[in-house]
């Protein structure tokens, strides 16, 4: 007999675009840029960079590790702008309709040349950093921010959400790069 209560489904999580392995990359990017303005990635990554440098209990004890993460985050910031351009170019009408902030996006880091050819930025990122390195570095960076206990004001409530979106950007970059060069 139906008792008016929905059947309880155990061990089930609603579908999320970030965990969809076979979903469309453009659809995923759309969700990323609905959730975050391209400037948000740059702002948060700049802060993450600094926290990683300050935190003594992190993977960045050695000077070379610190140099690597500084270069990686700088490239990731540029990548977020490049992926925005790729998404905007592919789905221009949709982008302006769905994203209220689409018209306000002002790129901060890409040069004129890079803006004209964002695929070069993606290519540079994918050639410079292996997918494995990028995944681990992003996790180390997240750990450094989570374990930071110093004086700087850090809102830790949305760290995982930001990490998931950054991770998706990295995934999208390798996917686009792979398709472009049919690797």
């Amino acid at each position: 007999m139906y008792n008016g209560q929905a059947e309880r489904k155990r061990f089930y999580k609603p579908h999320h675009f970030l965990s969809d392995e076979n979903g469309s990359i453009m659809k995923g990017l759309e969700q990323v840029f609905i959730d975050y303005h391209p400037c948000d990635f740059i702002e948060d990554l700049r802060e993450w960079q600094m926290l990683a440098m300050i935190n003594e209990q992190s993977a960045y004890d050695e000077g070379s590790a610190r140099e690597n993460v500084l270069d990686f985050t700088a490239a990731l910031m540029k990548l977020s702008e490049a992926l925005w351009l790729v998404y905007e170019k592919n789905c221009r009408d949709k982008a302006t309709k769905i994203l209220k902030h689409a018209a306000d996006v002002r790129l901060q880091l890409l040069s004129k040349k890079e803006t004209a050819n964002p695929h070069k930025v993606i290519q540079y990122f994918c050639y410079t950093f292996s997918k494995r390195y990028a995944k681990i570095e992003l996790l180390d960076l997240l750990e450094a921010v989570i374990t930071y206990e110093g004086d700087r004001q850090v809102y830790k409530g949305s760290l995982i959400l930001m990490y998931q979106h950054l991770d998706y950007l990295v995934k999208a970059a390798y996917n686009i790069h792979k398709r472009q060069f049919k690797l």
Partner: protein, 95 residues
């Protein structure tokens, strides 16, 4: 405001660090700086300097406070350069 008392009452030694020219024409230095470098270049140079510092072996032995202080100094200096650039743009308009 760590050094408020020094800023309000500069010591003789601090004043000696200023040349006669920079006391009489402080704006000249701002013009000279941005005429030479613009805004993008100082930003990039300062970042490279911080990056080299933080990537060095010596910093391995720094504690959190020392690292935080150097980053704080970088951020304040960057903010100072940016504000001076706005001043520079305003002054140039008035010419």
């Amino acid at each position: 405001m760590l050094h408020k008392e020094f800023v309000n009452n500069p010591t003789a030694e601090e004043l000696w660090n200023l040349s006669k020219d920079s006391v009489e024409q402080p704006l000249k230095a701002i013009y000279q700086f941005f005429d030479t470098y613009g805004l993008g270049s100082p930003h990039e140079r300062l970042w490279q300097m911080l990056k080299l510092t933080l990537s060095s072996k010596e910093v391995n032995d720094w504690n959190e406070v020392q690292r935080e202080n150097s980053i704080h100094f970088y951020e304040m200096l960057l903010a100072l350069i940016k504000s001076n650039y706005v001043l520079f743009l305003k002054m140039r308009k008035e010419l």
